[in-house]
Amino acid sequence: MSADSWPLWEVFVRAKRGLSHVHVGSLHAPDAEMALRNARDVYTRRGEGVSIWVIPADQIAASSPDEKDAYFDPAEDKVYRHPTFYHVPEGVEHL
């Protein structure tokens, strides 16, 4: 990193009340305050958001694509977690 380089930040925006924050992209900024300001100018100038989170990219822990099978497959065969697994007799509402 040279003296004039700024770290990478990931940006998350909540588009409106009721929705969660969604990843919209990244930008470079020297610090958190400037990252928030820049995110507002870059990612919400068309009114696309009510709340912004920024986080230094190197602070994010991510699962590895290699681990995919071990990490995610076990969830696949527990089908009783999905509502479609259950039979509901005709005419029974609100279930």
Binding site: A3, L8, S26, D31
Partner: protein, 326 residues
């Protein structure tokens, strides 16, 4: 959107790796830390970076007319358009960075001339009507190229393109509107509009690159879902879309061979002189030196500002950790 997964680099695989091709053939998306052929990664970095560079350099020919826009409304619209271009460059650099390169490396490659940008931005904007011609023709050509990229196999690039296409729709419309107003205005305005179209038409056609027969990368890029249509296909699509628009504008296109071909259902057009394109790409266009000098100057003159901000944060972080220890 860019899913910047972190940690180790993506493992390398063969160019015809069956699992990789299966994702592409199923119209799926390759994401940042997926296994991918090194050539795929390199091709994408180069393409996204050069696309980003084009947006940034493109700010200059249009930015020229912000201070002289002939009405406050036009000034505001032009400022917003150029600002969007900065944003597009930023989204594309961000997408390129997901493949393990830093933006500063890419900027260095642009400034040293090792990476290119779209040849069209090496032409001068001589009159206000050029703002109309660029919006109508250059953005029109860009959109023709960009819409298929929204389905590019690389996830971050496709998502950046979707965002860009949404913002781009007003750009072409404002260019058309400028030309329409000029074309139907005073005689001098009409002449200004026609002159601009006469100068920007052929360079816009050249934006799609050399003819398919002379295009080296298309086959591999096509197989990998990076390039969905060929140069000639996209160029034809652009011509077919644009000719009726020129009629609506009341302006002519500077091609005596432009004729409707009822058999093919397309507009036939005259032969393009590609030597001009190759000269411009080599660096011998009207504005190459000027565009690069401007970019270099902005970058160099901004160094002290960037350094100051980094130093301020370093000082603050040091103070915070001292306080934590105390």
């Amino acid at each position: 959107m860019y899913g910047n997964d972190f940690g180790t680099e993506a493992p390398e695989i063969a160019p015809d790796d069956p699992d990789f091709l299966a994702i592409i053939d199923a119209d799926g998306r390759i994401e940042p830390r997926d296994a991918m052929p090194e050539a795929y990664r390199k091709t994408l970095i180069r393409q996204m970076a050069q696309h980003a560079h084009s947006e940034i350099i493109g700010m200059q020919p249009e930015g020229n007319w912000i201070s002289r826009a002939p009405s406050l409304k036009r000034k505001a619209i032009l400022m917003a358009k150029v600002q969007d271009e900065a944003g597009h460059g930023l989204y594309l650099y961000a997408a390129a960075e997901t493949l393990g390169v830093d933006r500063s490396e890419l900027v260095e490659l642009l400034i040293t001339g090792k990476q290119k940008y779209s040849s069209i931005f090496n032409y001068p904007t001589l009159t206000w009507a050029d703002m109309g011609a660029i919006g109508w023709l250059v953005d029109g050509a860009a959109i023709t190229n960009q819409v298929p990229l929204c389905r590019c196999s690389y996830g971050p690039y496709a998502r950046a393109m979707i965002r860009i296409c949404k913002e781009e729709s007003f750009h072409q419309r404002q260019g058309f509107e400028i030309l329409w107003t000029l074309s139907h205005g005073t005689e001098a305005q009409h002449a200004m509009a026609q002159d601009a179209v006469d100068r920007w038409w052929w360079p816009s056609l050249m934006m799609f690159g050399p003819p398919d027969a002379e295009s080296t990368h298309t086959a591999q890029s096509g197989r990998w879902g990076i390039k969905r249509f060929t140069n000639d296909e996209l160029r034809q699509r652009f011509v077919d879309m644009t000719v009726p628009q020129s009629e609506a504008l009341g302006l002519t296109l500077p091609d005596p061979d432009l004729t409707w071909n009822a058999e093919t259902g397309h507009w036939d057009f005259g032969e393009i002189d590609f030597t001009e394109l190759f000269e411009v790409i080599k660096g011998n266009g009207p504005c190459n030196a000027q565009r690069m000098a401007h970019r270099r100057r902005a970058h160099d003159e901004g160094a002290w500002v960037r350094e100051a901000a980094a130093a301020y944060e370093a000082k603050r972080a040091a103070r915070t950790s001292e306080e934590a220890v105390a």
